[in-house]
């Protein structure tokens, strides 16, 4: 044995690894893969479709129209000075970013079992790429929102764009991180017990009703004060309410609520990361 064999190993493969190791250097090494995954996600969505990227727009538009008819025209929810359609479109656009992040990341291990079973790369690249490619999708959907914004503006609707708008990207970032954290958490649990993927599919639908997507937050506290606290404890409700305030000038900003949201987001993200790291080493044996 020479002296070399005792110290300068490049790496070691062992049964366990550090819980919180978010190996940033390794992720940086694989940055090209991240970009290529994003590109793949974007390209393959509209290959062999006629309408192509238009599909990105059709879904929020039709959902908004339906919501406007059901919740505003039939149920009579009052959206104040803002046209109900625009109110719903804002909520849905932001909400969609969260759900697509969560949906895309929550089956990371299951959907990629084939490739994960053959090659090693930092597994977190996959959920990260989902969050980023959905950000691009969000960008496109936000553009259509802006289109209607300008349209209604010239129609004479009172829209109060305010200074808070500069913080809008941060809000979206929080949304993405929350979706990523929750997705990593669920994807780790889905590997062994598929029960969780069923939970996600209907859980997201229920969650939407608790997230102030199609009604102002104030309204629920006013109408059902007994259960209004459920919405008040939902971090997503604050994000949606705040983003509507930033974009349309309706509703309110709760600094406390935002602080609460940020803390919950960070907590979910780190717990998700912890479990994700623990799972990625052996998931291929149980998936």
């Amino acid at each position: 044995m020479d002296s070399k064999s005792t110290n300068d190993w490049l790496f070691e493969i062992t049964p366990k690894n550090n819980f919180f190791s978010l190996n940033l250097r390794e992720i940086w090494q694989y940055r090209d893969l991240l970009l290529l995954f994003v590109k793949r996600d974007i390209i393959t969505v509209y290959k062999q479709t006629v309408l192509g990227p238009l599909w990105y727009l059709i879904q929020p538009l039709f959902t908004s129209i339906t919501f406007t008819i059901i919740f505003n025209n039939v149920a009579g929810i009052n959206t104040g000075t803002v046209p109900p359609f625009l109110f719903n479109l804002a909520g849905i656009t932001v909400w969609n970013y969260f759900t697509s992040c969560l949906n895309g990341t929550s089956d990371t291990f299951k959907a990629n079992a084939n490739i994960f079973g053959k090659v090693y790369f930092p597994r977190i690249i996959t959920p990260l790429s989902v969050v980023i490619s959905n950000l691009i999708k969000f960008g496109i959907q936000f553009f259509i929102f802006l289109f209607f914004y300008v349209f209604y503006y010239f129609q004479g609707a009172t829209l109060n764009l305010n200074g808070w708008i500069v913080l809008f990207p941060i809000l979206i970032l929080i949304m993405g991180v929350l979706g990523l954290g929750l997705g990593m958490l669920i994807s780790s649990m889905v590997t062994k017990y598929r029960d969780f993927s069923n939970l996600v599919s209907f859980g997201i639908q229920l969650l939407m009703y608790l997230s102030a997507v199609m009604y102002p937050m104030e309204l629920i506290k006013e109408k059902i004060p007994k259960f209004g606290w459920i919405v008040a404890y939902n971090p997503l409700a604050y994000i949606i309410e705040t983003s509507r305030f930033m974009l349309l000038g309706v509703g309110s900003v709760s600094i406390l609520g935002l602080l609460y949201t940020s803390i919950v987001t960070l907590a979910v993200f780190f717990v998700g990361l912890l479990i994700f790291n623990k799972t990625e080493k052996n998931f291929i044996d149980t998936v």
Binding site: D2, L10, E12, I13, T14, P15, N17, Q29, R40, I115
Partner: protein, 423 residues
């Protein structure tokens, strides 16, 4: 002598749970967790059994690998051989970080890239060119590295014409070509290759083996190679590691390892000793064996050797014109040819007869063969017939590097007299 160890595995073990995931696993998980928070050992780690695929075990846990230790030097080509389920793929999965070992550790001085069943990560909707980038990045290359090698990769794959067509339109062979081409231009210090030769035509096999050669000899990189093709293992590897039921049965030079592996195979028992089965009125048959000339019948037979057949029998009386005839059958039971010592005017006499028949060098092709034995009297009636009295297998020999590693058609390869006149 100073060794330059690039990869070192110490006490690698891997446990798997058999059966399905259900409420049983949930209770095990809870029990395991309960032991863990009390600081006790995992209760299920103790109860694993040796991984023998064919026998029913008593425990739900098996050890796919158990206490694997080995070292690989820089520039070495290590062939990992073993039967299905011996743990080869599990070992490669651990090496390529796809799954973690249950116990033990692997230390490495170089990047490891794996070529596990090439073509994974290909996206059918994307073109060949896009897939080269994607696959390269999955294997750990940067975009810049890929761009600089793009032309070479495309040329090596031989899919130039299809490069801007979605991969879903490719034939399976073309996909493999493209995937191997990407991986071949990877520059890891350690390359892990699993069964690439199973697919692809002769031309491509030649190319792939040649490339692996360049990688190991030319560029001094280390290759770990798993294959069932002994010809490829023999020609390509310098060292061999034989896995049997998840443990290292032996490690050493590739010749020794391959011979060891083949001699484990019960189908290639090249010697058959009979006690009383063939104690007939006229004769007693003791033994039939095959061996390469100058070697014992323990040695495996390969396609390039001079092979002799030995028959040992005792003749009880001097029966005139009694002779031994053998028929060689292929594994479909078809007779290939009949041969006998009577053609050479040799006779059997009373007492113990040692009959030898030598095949010319490299006469038999790779495959499994069956011998039928006839005792013929007066060149017309058979005193004794035993069909398929023994079987033997001819293995792949070591072939020149860069040549094709498959099997030529046919059962025999006689060496005829050829001549070429050039005017």
């Amino acid at each position: 002598m100073e060794k330059d160890i690039i990869l070192k595995a110490t006490n690698i073990s891997k446990q798997y749970r058999l059966g399905q995931v259900g409420t049983g696993t949930l209770s095990h998980d809870i029990n395991r967790w309960w032991h863990k928070i009390r600081g006790k050992e995992d209760p299920y780690l103790k109860i694993g059994e040796v991984n023998d695929r064919s026998t029913k075990g008593t425990s739900d846990y098996v050890w796919a690998l158990q206490d694997i230790n080995f070292e690989v030097e820089r520039g070495e080509v290590l062939g990992i051989i073993g039967k299905n389920g011996a743990g080869k793929s599990t070992l490669l999965k651990i090496l390529s970080k796809v799954t973690a070992p249950t116990t033990g550790s692997i230390k490495s001085r170089g990047r490891i890239a794996s070529l596990l069943e090439v073509g994974t990560g290909f996206n059918g909707e994307m073109t060949g060119r896009e897939n080269i980038y994607l696959n390269g990045a999955i294997l750990g290359m940067t975009k810049k590295e890929i761009s600089s090698k793009l032309d070479e990769i495309i040329e090596f794959s031989g899919c130039e014409r299809y490069i801007d067509t979605p991969v879903k339109r490719y034939s399976s062979g073309m996909t493999v070509r493209l995937a191997f081409a990407v991986a071949a231009f990877l520059e890891p210090e350690i390359l892990v290759v699993d069964e690439v030769l199973a697919v692809g035509d002769a031309e491509f096999q030649k190319k792939a083996i040649g490339k692996m050669q360049d990688i190991s000899r030319g560029e001094g990189r280390t290759v770990l190679f798993v294959s069932h093709n002994m010809a490829a293992v023999k020609s390509l590897c310098t060292k061999g590691l034989v896995l049997i039921n998840g443990t290292v049965a032996m490690g050493g030079t590739v010749e020794k390892a391959v011979n060891y592996y083949l001699s484990q195979d019960s189908e290639s028992m090249n010697r058959k000793v009979f006690s009383k089965e063939y104690d007939k009125k006229e004769f007693i048959l003791h033994e039939i064996s095959l061996n390469p000339i100058g070697k014992s019948s323990e040695e495996p037979l390969d396609e390039f050797q001079e092979i002799e057949i030995n028959v040992l029998l005792t003749l009880k009386d001097d029966i005139k014109k009694l002779h031994l005839t053998l028929v060689l059958n292929n594994d479909f039971g078809e007779a290939l040819f009949t041969f006998s010592h009577s053609n050479n005017d040799l006779r059997l006499s009373k007492g113990v007869n040692k009959i030898k028949c030598k095949f010319p060098k490299g006469f038999l092709n790779i495959g499994t063969y069956f011998l039928s034995l006839y005792m013929i009297e007066n060149a017309k009636s058979s005193l004794f017939v035993e069909k398929d009295i023994m079987s033997f297998a001819i293995q792949e020999g070591e072939r020149p590097l860069g040549s094709w590693m498959g099997k030529e058609p046919g059962f025999i390869k006689p060496n005829f007299d050829w001549s070429i006149e050039v005017n």
